[in-house]
Amino acid sequence: MADEKLPAGRPYFHPEGTEASGITRREFLGVAAVGLAAATAAALSPLRQLADFPTLEDWLRKHYTELTPRDKEAIFERIRAQVEKDYGVRPNLTDQPPLDGVMFAYALNIGRCVGCRRCVYACVNENNQSRDPQIQYIRVLKMKKGSIDVETAEHYYEGEVPDPDHYYMPVQCNQCRNPPCVKVCPVKATWPEKDGVVVVDYNWCIGCRYCEAACPYWARRFNFKKPGLPKEELNPNMGYLSNRPREKGVMEKCHFCLQRTRAGRYPACVEVCPTGSRKFGNILDPDSEISNIIRTKRVYVLKEEVGTNPKFYYYFNV
């Protein structure tokens, strides 16, 4: 945002070229005060666009972890009403708790992935991301075989895939056991749940973007604008900590499709992958595919040296 420029406003009520002349200090301060008030009012003008100013209850509510079931229900009801107003459908907003004895983990076979990006769009479609400006949780990196330099990877390839001497590495939130994004959050708007998924409370987030800077995987996305999501494409099955519509000014990221996975289903990206490269499951269950892969395959994690200890593994065919 370095090229952001303020429009050059020339105070047109000044006598030409006589900036300091003929104006008393008192008059100046008076005008300046009015000017400042106008600027403040205008700076707050995005609030003009808020259909509903947050209610007093929203301002005074407690942190998610301190809410009673009744508090939650009241908050959810307000969100339902807001979504219905904005999108014309009554959403099925839930807040499923973590399942007992479940720790989610993910594995991705980079020997199989062909880079077709179906996962990217399945995710966008499931999780109500903004279509414009575009927000996507998954980024597929195309790299030369034999290299593993994510800095020089190609993000914008098109056409037929796979390209013979390349391989593809999708990157998304690594759901770290030691998440730097959580540590830097000044207001505790993001935290790891019992099933290992790092979530964001979009009502609590103040949009400071520290977490985005702290994440070594470039997994967090910021809503610079009001998310643009066509009404017909809203997924009405939504979770409070996952895919409910976001507002301008908050962070979001992959949450392993909590609204699906806590109901026992696979995440949308696993469900769609045509090559079967994406694997998901309960790492505490020794018979799950994820436990099998970790036991029998060569797995690695991205940027192991930064000590984040991810639950997102990459593996090879052998």
């Binding site: 429009p7 105070p11 990006r117 179906r118 769009y121 610079f224 643009g228």
Partner: protein, 186 residues
Amino acid sequence: MAALAACIAAALYFWFDPLGAGERTSEPPAVKPAYYDTTPVRGRLKTALMTEGTPCGTCHDSMDPPAVDPSKRGTFHSQIVLRHGANVRCFNCHNSGKRDFFSGFGGEPIPYSRVETLCAKCHGPHYRDWQQGAHGRRNGYWNTAMGERKTQVCIVCHDPHWPVFKPLRAAPAPRTLRVTASAEEH
């Protein structure tokens, strides 16, 4: 004076919103359903082994199996192109006597519904990985106590006659801010 000018400039800036941070004017673009279609690349599995809707036995039950060289395939099924490495014989897979079935190691019939055991004859490690969930694809519920899990069989991804996984067309590249070191945005 400078302060005043700055205030007014800021007021104008925030009010007219030159960078367009405020409300949008047009409907945001839709995501094409083809980009998140979950159908496997070869479509859904058929219900039985057949060609153009006719079960194999309809013709073959009343035909004698070829008494001569089994590598000869005749011309009737010329649409079948076999590019399966060194696996060049129809009867490595198909059952010569019971044409609606595949053929096990000892020639025993394998029904269409167990086609993965046919592939297992020659692809043991892949079959093992597939059983454990490391190869192939699972859909539905990861938690089988909460719903049904569907394990996709080999032939919804691999054409048995020409099994190499065919190229796909990539869904569109992102239009988001570029993150490479060379990019000027961001």
